[in-house]
C-alpha cells in the first residue's frame, strides 16, 4: 500500500521515444497523450445502451429476423422514450435484458447475427 501511494505521488515524468517517420525522438509525454484511449472498432452486431436508463417495450424475440432500421426496443432515458433500431440485417441471437430493467451506459442489450452476403 505504502509503495502504491509513493508511485502515485511520483510526478517526475520520464523520457520516452516518440517515433515519427522512422526517426526516434527522445521527449517527455503529456497527460493527455498518456491517457488517450485506444481506438476500438465498433461492432454493429452488439447493441449497447448509449445512455443509462430503463428498458421499455421490447419489440423482438430471439430468433427473429430483423432488417436495418427495424425497431428493437425502447430505452427510457433523459425523460425520453428512445427507439433503438437495428443497424443491420440479421437474426436476433440473444436478448440480455427484460422490460423494466435498469441498464447502465454501454451495457449489452441485444446481440444480432448478421446475414452473410448470400443470404
Amino acid at each position: 500500500m505504502a509503495k502504491k501511494t509513493k508511485q502515485m505521488h511520483q510526478v517526475k515524468p520520464e523520457f520516452f521515444h516518440l517515433i515519427l517517420d522512422d526517426t526516434s525522438y527522445k521527449t517527455l509525454p503529456i497527460r493527455k497523450y498518456t491517457s488517450r484511449k485506444k481506438y476500438q472498432r465498433k461492432d454493429d452486431s452488439l447493441i449497447n445502451a448509449i445512455i443509462p436508463g430503463i428498458i421499455g417495450k421490447i419489440y423482438v424475440k430471439e430468433g427473429d429476423e430483423v432488417h436495418h432500421g427495424d425497431k428493437l426496443l425502447e430505452l427510457e432515458a433523459m425523460k425520453m422514450y428512445n427507439q433503438i433500431l437495428s443497424p443491420l440485417n440479421g437474426k436476433v441471437k440473444k436478448i440480455s435484458v427484460a422490460s423494466g430493467d435498469k441498464v447502465t451506459k454501454d451495457q449489452l442489450l441485444i446481440e444480432i447475427e448478421p446475414f452473410t452476403a448470400n443470404e
Binding site: 517527455l28 497527460r31 481506438y39
Partner: protein, 515 residues
C-alpha cells in the same frame, strides 16, 4: 438639512451598501480561503485608484417576495481604476450577496461598465464568483447573460478582456469568460462547467467531483479553457498585473515600451542549452529567455498542450509574442490542442499590434487515430489561417527540424513571414532523413546485398544533401543563415526595421477561420 447632515446621510447609506451580504456571509466566504469582492478589486488595482459606481443600484424584481429583499449593489461591484497607472474598467461579482446571482440590474451594471470600457478604449477585467442566473428573475437573467455575451464579442479585438474565475462559474455563465482573451483560475477556488456533477450523475450515471470535472487544474491542463493558473488569489492578481504590463490598452495602440535590458546570457547560453542533434530534447523556453530582455518571459497556457510554447516577452523594450515548438514534450509536434493554443494566441497578438517571433523545431504533425478523429485537419488549419491572416511583423527562426506540413505552418516565408532566419543546424525538408531515405531509395535498399548498410549509406547521403538550411536558402525561402548567438541581434534589427509595417489584406467583412 444642512450639507453636513446630508453628508452624514450619504455616509450612512454607503455604509449599509458596503456591508455586502452581511457578517455571516462574509465569514463564510473568508473561511473558504476567498477574499470578498471589494477586497479583490483593491488587491488588484493601484492603491487608492479604485472608483466605484452604481453602489446604490437596487434590483427590480417583484416576484417570489423579491420586492421585500434588499441586495446591496445587486451583488456586483463595478468601477474604474489603474494597474501600474494603466486605466482599466473592472467588475467583481459579490458572492456574499444572494450568491452573486445574476439578475436584471446586476447584468445592467456589468453591461454599463463594459460599454464604458469600449467608449474609453481601455481593458476590461471581470471577476466571476456567482451561483449563476437568479432564478426568481426568470427570463430577465437570461437576457442579462445574452447582453454580456454580445458585448464580449463586440469588444473582442478592440480592447483586451480578462476574466478571473474566483468561485463557481457554471452553466451559461461560463460563456462570458470563454469569449474573453485571458482566463485566470486559482486552485481549489475556481470551478467552471456547463453541467455539474449532479446532472452528470443523474443523466449518465457517472460520478465525478467538482474539482475533477471543472477545477482550476482541469481547465489549465486538460480543457485549455484557462490561460493562467495560480495557487492563491494573491498570486493570481500578480499574474494579471504582469500580463497587463505586456499588452496595449486597445487595438489602436502598441504596448507601452519598457527600458531595454540585455538577456542574462550567463544562465541562458544558447550554445550550452541547444543540442544540435534533432532527436535530443531541450526546453525551448530557455532559448526564448536567451533572446528576450532581462530573460523575462510570461508564458501563457503553460500547462495546456505543452508541446507548443506561447507567451510574451520584450525585445529592445518592445513587447513581442513568442510562439515556439517545444521539443521537450512530444518532440514539439503540432496536434489538435497545440494548434488551437497557438492559433488563438497569434490572433490576439495580431489584433493588438504585438509582433510575432516564432521558433521552429518540429518533426510534423502527431499521427494517431484519436488525432484524426478529433479533427487535426481543421484544428491544424487554424495555425495556417492565423499566421497567414496576421499583418503584424512576423519573424521566424528555424533552429532545427522543419519538416513537411509543420515547416509550412510555423510562419514560413510562404505564409508571408517578414524575416526568416535559420541556424546552421536547421533541417528544412519534406521529412527527416530516415523516413525520406526509406521511401526514395526503397528499391536500392531492398535489392542491396546488405540492406542495412545500404540504408545507412542512403540516410547519410540524404542528410548531407538535404538536411540543412542551404537548399531553402538557395531559393530565398530563408533570408539569412545565422549563428545561434547572433539571434538576438537579428531580432532586434528586424523588429526595428518592421516598426512601420502597414500591411492590409483584401477588403472583407470578415474571414471564415476553421473555428
Amino acid at each position: 438639512m444642512s450639507l453636513k447632515q446630508k453628508t452624514l446621510d450619504l455616509k450612512k447609506r454607503m455604509r449599509e451598501a458596503l456591508e455586502g451580504g452581511g457578517t455571516q456571509a462574509i465569514e463564510k466566504q473568508k473561511s473558504g480561503g476567498k477574499l470578498i469582492a471589494r477586497e479583490r478589486i483593491l488587491a488588484l488595482l493601484d492603491p487608492k485608484s479604485f472608483h466605484e459606481y452604481d453602489l446604490f443600484v437596487e434590483h427590480a424584481a417583484k416576484d417570489f417576495d423579491m420586492d421585500k429583499k434588499y441586495l446591496p449593489g445587486d451583488g456586483v461591484i463595478t468601477g474604474t481604476g489603474t494597474i501600474f497607472g494603466y486605466p482599466v474598467c473592472i467588475y467583481a461579482q459579490d458572492f456574499t450577496v444572494a450568491g452573486g446571482s445574476l439578475g436584471y440590474m446586476h447584468a445592467k451594471k456589468i453591461t454599463k461598465i463594459m460599454d464604458h470600457a469600449m467608449k474609453m478604449n481601455v481593458p476590461l477585467i471581470g471577476i466571476n464568483d456567482s451561483g449563476g442566473a437568479r432564478i426568481q428573475e426568470g427570463v430577465n437573467s437570461l437576457a442579462g447573460y445574452g447582453e454580456i455575451f454580445y458585448r464580449n464579442t463586440q469588444a473582442s479585438g478592440v480592447i483586451p478582456q480578462i476574466s478571473v474565475i474566483l468561485g463557481p462559474c457554471a452553466g451559461g455563465a461560463v460563456y462570458s469568460p470563454a469569449l474573453t482573451d485571458f482566463v485566470f483560475v486559482v486552485d481549489k477556488i475556481s470551478k467552471m462547467f456547463i453541467t455539474g456533477p449532479e446532472v452528470i450523475k443523474t443523466v449518465l450515471g457517472e460520478e465525478i467531483s467538482m474539482e475533477e470535472l471543472g477545477g482550476a487544474k482541469i481547465h489549465a491542463e486538460i480543457s485549455g479553457n484557462a490561460h493562467f493558473y495560480a495557487e492563491s488569489e494573491q498570486e493570481c492578481f500578480e499574474q494579471i498585473k504582469r500580463l497587463v504590463s505586456f499588452i496595449p490598452w486597445n487595438n489602436t495602440r502598441r504596448a507601452l515600451p519598457f527600458v531595454k535590458k540585455e538577456p542574462n546570457t550567463k544562465n541562458y547560453n544558447i550554445e550550452k542549452i541547444f543540442p544540435s542533434d534533432p532527436k535530443q530534447p531541450y526546453d525551448v523556453r530557455d532559448i526564448i529567455r536567451a533572446v528576450s530582455d532581462d530573460s523575462d518571459f510570461l508564458e501563457v497556457q503553460e500547462r495546456f498542450a505543452r508541446n507548443i510554447v506561447i507567451g510574451f516577452g520584450r525585445i529592445n523594450g518592445e513587447t513581442v509574442g513568442f510562439v515556439a515548438n517545444q521539443p521537450l514534450y512530444l518532440a514539439g509536434v503540432l496536434d489538435v490542442d497545440s494548434s488551437d493554443k497557438a492559433a488563438r494566441f497569434i490572433r490576439f497578438c495580431d489584433a493588438f499590434n504585438i509582433p510575432l517571433v516564432t521558433f521552429v523545431d518540429l518533426p510534423g504533425y502527431l499521427p494517431g487515430i484519436d488525432q484524426e478523429h478529433a479533427g487535426v485537419i481543421r484544428h491544424g488549419a487554424k495555425v495556417l489561417y492565423a499566421y497567414s491572416e496576421a499583418t503584424v511583423p512576423k519573424i521566424t527562426v528555424i533552429t532545427r527540424k522543419a519538416y513537411g506540413g509543420g515547416y509550412i505552418a510555423m510562419c514560413s516565408r510562404h505564409l508571408k513571414a517578414d524575416f526568416v532566419f535559420a541556424w546552421p543546424t536547421a533541417e528544412i525538408a519534406v521529412m527527416g532523413p530516415e523516413g525520406a531515405a526509406n521511401i526514395i531509395f526503397r528499391k536500392e535498399i531492398m535489392e542491396a546485398e546488405d540492406p542495412e548498410k545500404m540504408r545507412q549509406q542512403k540516410i547519410k547521403e540524404y542528410k548531407d544533401k538535404f538536411a540543412n538550411p542551404y537548399v531553402a536558402a538557395a531559393y530565398g525561402y530563408v533570408d539569412a543563415v545565422i549563428e545561434p548567438r547572433e539571434t538576438r541581434e537579428f531580432l532586434v534589427h528586424s523588429l526595428e526595421i518592421s516598426i512601420n509595417k502597414n500591411e492590409k489584406g483584401p477588403f472583407k467583412k470578415h474571414g471564415i477561420p476553421p473555428f
